[in-house]
């Protein structure tokens, strides 16, 4: 790729329709958050006090396992160590704070919706109930943004270098018959390790 496209960081390439969709979602998310008072918690209608006590990881685990399920012949969120990777992402200062908040705080919102509809938290739902609730969530702009963001980071966990915590032994690359480049980053020259 020689010509860089709109909204790409250096090097990335995407078809124009995707670029426009991504741009629209990004812009809309920023608009929504600003309209909600400037915080992701308010976007999801969460009270900050409640947000502080809430542990998002069990629900995030259940959501990512549903979005990328394990199958006999192909890895899912569990096999690609999606949670390990998301722990790296949510602690990474090079990921926008707003994005990290979105990843974590969407779970509490989902659990509240789950309680309202099924009187239990999301991880306790049946697969069919999970699917129905996520489909309902995806019909709202905030929910669509949240799930889209999770899918993006699941793709990263699946397809980026194992040194970042996901894709153990290149399991995602093997599944999709993808040939990675070399050399790959290892501890010591991963991007948080560089003398920037």
């Amino acid at each position: 790729m020689i010509r860089r496209h709109r909204n790409d960081r250096p090097g990335t390439q995407a078809p124009f329709d995707f670029v426009q969709l991504k741009s629209r979602l990004t812009t809309r998310r920023r608009f929504l958050i600003q309209a909600a008072g400037g915080s992701v918690a308010l976007l999801f209608g969460l009270r900050n006090a409640a947000a502080a006590e809430y542990d998002p990881w069990p629900t995030l685990d259940a959501v990512t396992r549903h979005l990328l399920p394990s199958e006999p012949d192909s890895p899912g969120a569990a096999e690609i160590h999606a949670l390990d990777y998301l722990r790296f992402v949510t602690g990474d200062p090079l990921v926008d704070r707003e994005e990290r908040d979105l990843i974590l705080q969407g779970n509490q919102w989902l659990d509240q919706l789950s309680q309202e509809r099924y009187q239990t938290v999301f991880p306790a739902l049946s697969a069919e109930q999970k699917e129905q609730l996520l489909r309902q969530v995806a019909r709202s702009t905030a929910g669509e943004n949240w799930i889209s963001t999770l899918l993006t980071y699941l793709f990263e966990a699946l397809l980026t270098a194992p040194a970042y915590g996901g894709n153990p032994d290149g399991i995602g690359w093997l599944w999709l018959e993808y040939v990675p480049g070399f050399p790959l980053p290892v501890p010591g020259n991963r991007y948080p390790d560089l003398p920037l």
């Binding site: 010509r3 960081r9 090097g11 995407a14 979005l67 990328l68 990263e156 999709l176 050399p183």
Partner: protein
């Protein structure tokens, strides 16, 4: 009066490197101020996160951004800051600049590029002028770049081949992909002439750099072997080794200070700890990439320059150029080929190295006698996450679960996408320029660049003409799902102009030597000098011109090396 250095170079990319290298080689003392860090081969890996998904080699947009003005309703302009839109106009802020991340497609300009106005005549609403130099003036420097940067290729007869002073390239072509032969055959069948593309990538070890290792990940990645001819690997490492060049990373220059006579007396910059510092030199060379070069001059007001350095004729920032054209693609479906061909299509590593250069000038019933361009063929960028991203949307709805996994399997396993990219001139107009924004500042509190990016409609007509040829070749190759897109949005990584050179201060910033008309110790050596950009990527020409400018600076400093070079 003594100075800290003979020459202060601001920016370490393809515009700055040749000046630093040449002046240090000639015995002069040089300081290079680079806003980014100093990374080397050991830091560069095939890491999609680092290269393309996090702001590792470029600033975070919340810290440093651009305000972009796009065409709006009723012939007005809509301005949006980069942090809001996500539109990133940074291309590599580290020692060596964006040359670290280039793909190294090294086409020379052609003689016609130096005289567009006199060859094709004026175009309404375009500020086309002839260059004040000719191809013959730049040719020796193209030759020099081929040797010093290391260009691999093979000079072959072609209708539009540029005149050369050397018989062939100094290094043989890089290893080529099996698809390249198919492109040759398809082109021949269509009556086109496929051109073997020279690359700024070493096919053999040389100049203390290793040869290409063919990982298949080149453009947008820093090179871990040193084969890619970045300004850092090919020039600055040698300049520093001479003992006469000091590179200062993390040095963000925010103003060039001038005295009452209008001469520059110091470069003021922030160091890594955001402390303001100064350095002085006899000559200052600005090479920050086009947008940031204009921004620095506009921000450098002084007693003789109330509207910005070298801007008393109001020319700085005007006639900014990008590269017009667009991109197209077609899928080479494995099932359409036998097992051997299918395996050949999957090969990762070797380069396609093919372009169509049959329409550099066009005679067409609708376009008339017009400047055309080139069509470059290349495999789809190998970034995996980027490829997967497309799979999560279907008809505007999110897909997940098993259906998403089946889509990923199809998208990754069943075909390979062959792209083409069209390059044609981005005409200079009054609607494409750099100014200082009055509301948005960078993290040091200085005004960011406000960039209007209006495109001339003629550019898109030429681009569509060329894209149709690219699609024709993909059809002949047997690709499926062929499409292309030519639009007015600029590629942010292909910047030039803004301080164009010329003979008249009334319509140019720089003289033919790239010295500012209004400031005799200021040179600009990046792509800013170009009045028209040609129809190829800019890096080769930026390198060549920077070597030419370096010779003029040596002349101005007295010519005689003070020590053996």
């Amino acid at each position: 009066m003594s100075s800290d250095f003979d020459v202060c170079v601001i920016g370490s990319g393809a515009g700055g490197g040749p000046v630093a290298y040449s002046l240090a080689s000639a015995g002069y003392s040089v300081v290079v101020l680079e806003k980014g860090p100093w990374l080397t081969e050991s830091h560069f890996t095939k890491d999609e996160l680092a290269c393309c998904r996090r702001s590792v080699y470029t600033p975070a947009l919340r810290d440093e951004q651009h305000v972009i003005e796009e065409p709006g309703a009723d012939h007005g302009w809509n301005a949006e800051a980069g942090e809001q839109s996500g539109w990133n106009f940074w291309n590599g802020n580290c020692v060596g600049g964006s040359s670290n991340f280039m793909s190294g497609y090294f086409h020379r300009l052609k003689p016609v590029d130096f005289k567009l106005l006199s060859t094709f005549g004026p175009i309404d609403a375009a500020n086309v002028i002839d260059w004040p130099i000719e191809y013959a003036d730049l040719e020796p420097y193209y030759d020099k770049v081929e040797r010093l940067i290391g260009v691999s290729g093979k000079a072959e007869p072609h209708t539009n081949a540029e005149p050369r002073s050397s018989a062939d390239f100094p290094f043989p072509p890089t290893v080529e992909h099996p698809i390249s032969q198919h492109i040759d055959q398809a082109a021949q069948a269509l009556g086109f002439h496929a051109l073997r593309v020279p690359r700024a990538i070493l096919s053999q070890p040389a100049m203390q750099r290793r040869a290409c290792e063919y990982s298949g990940f080149c453009g947008s990645f820093g090179c871990s072997s040193g084969a890619k001819g970045s300004s850092r690997a090919a020039l600055l490492d040698h300049a520093v080794a001479s003992g006469r060049c000091e590179v200062r990373p993390h040095s963000q220059v925010f103003r060039l200070e001038t005295d009452a006579q209008g001469r520059i007396i110091a470069a003021a910059y922030y160091d890594k700890e955001a402390r303001p510092r100064r350095v002085d030199a006899r000559i200052y060379v600005v090479a920050c990439q086009a947008i940031e070069t204009s921004r620095l001059l506009l921000a450098s007001i002084g007693p003789k320059f109330p509207g910005g350095l070298a801007n008393n004729h109001g020319q700085v920032g005007r006639n900014l150029l990008f590269s017009a054209g667009g991109a197209g693609s077609g899928d080479m479906v494995f099932a359409d080929h036998d097992a051997a061909e299918s395996a050949a299509l999957r090969v990762v590593g070797p380069f396609v190295n093919r372009a169509l250069d049959d329409w550099y000038t066009i005679d067409d019933p609708r376009l008339g006698h017009a400047k055309g361009g080139i069509i470059e063929f290349l495999w789809d960028h190998p970034n995996a996450v980027t490829r997967a991203q497309n799979a999560k949307w279907r008809d505007g709805e999110l897909v997940w679960g098993a259906p998403l996994k089946r889509r990923l399997e199809t998208w990754f396993r069943t075909d390979r996408t062959l792209n083409f990219e069209v390059f044609n001139d981005w005409l200079p107009t009054d609607d494409c320029f750099v100014a200082l924004d009055r509301g948005v500042n960078d993290r040091w509190g200085n005004a960011v660049a406000r960039v209007r990016i209006g495109a001339h409609p003629h550019d898109q007509r030429v681009g569509r003409f060329l894209a149709a040829k690219g699609e024709q070749l993909l059809r002949r190759l047997g690709a499926r799902r062929i499409s292309s897109s030519v639009g007015p949005a600029p590629p942010p990584n292909l910047q030039a102009g803004g301080c164009r050179f010329g003979n008249a201060p009334e319509n140019s910033v720089l003289d033919p030597d790239c010295r500012a008309h209004e400031v005799d110790n200021l040179f600009v050596s990046d792509g800013s000098f170009m009045p028209t950009g040609g129809s190829v990527p800019y890096t080769f020409t930026i390198y060549a011109n920077s070597f030419r400018v370096a010779d003029r600076i040596i002349d101005q400093l007295g010519g005689c090396p003070r020590t053996a070079g």
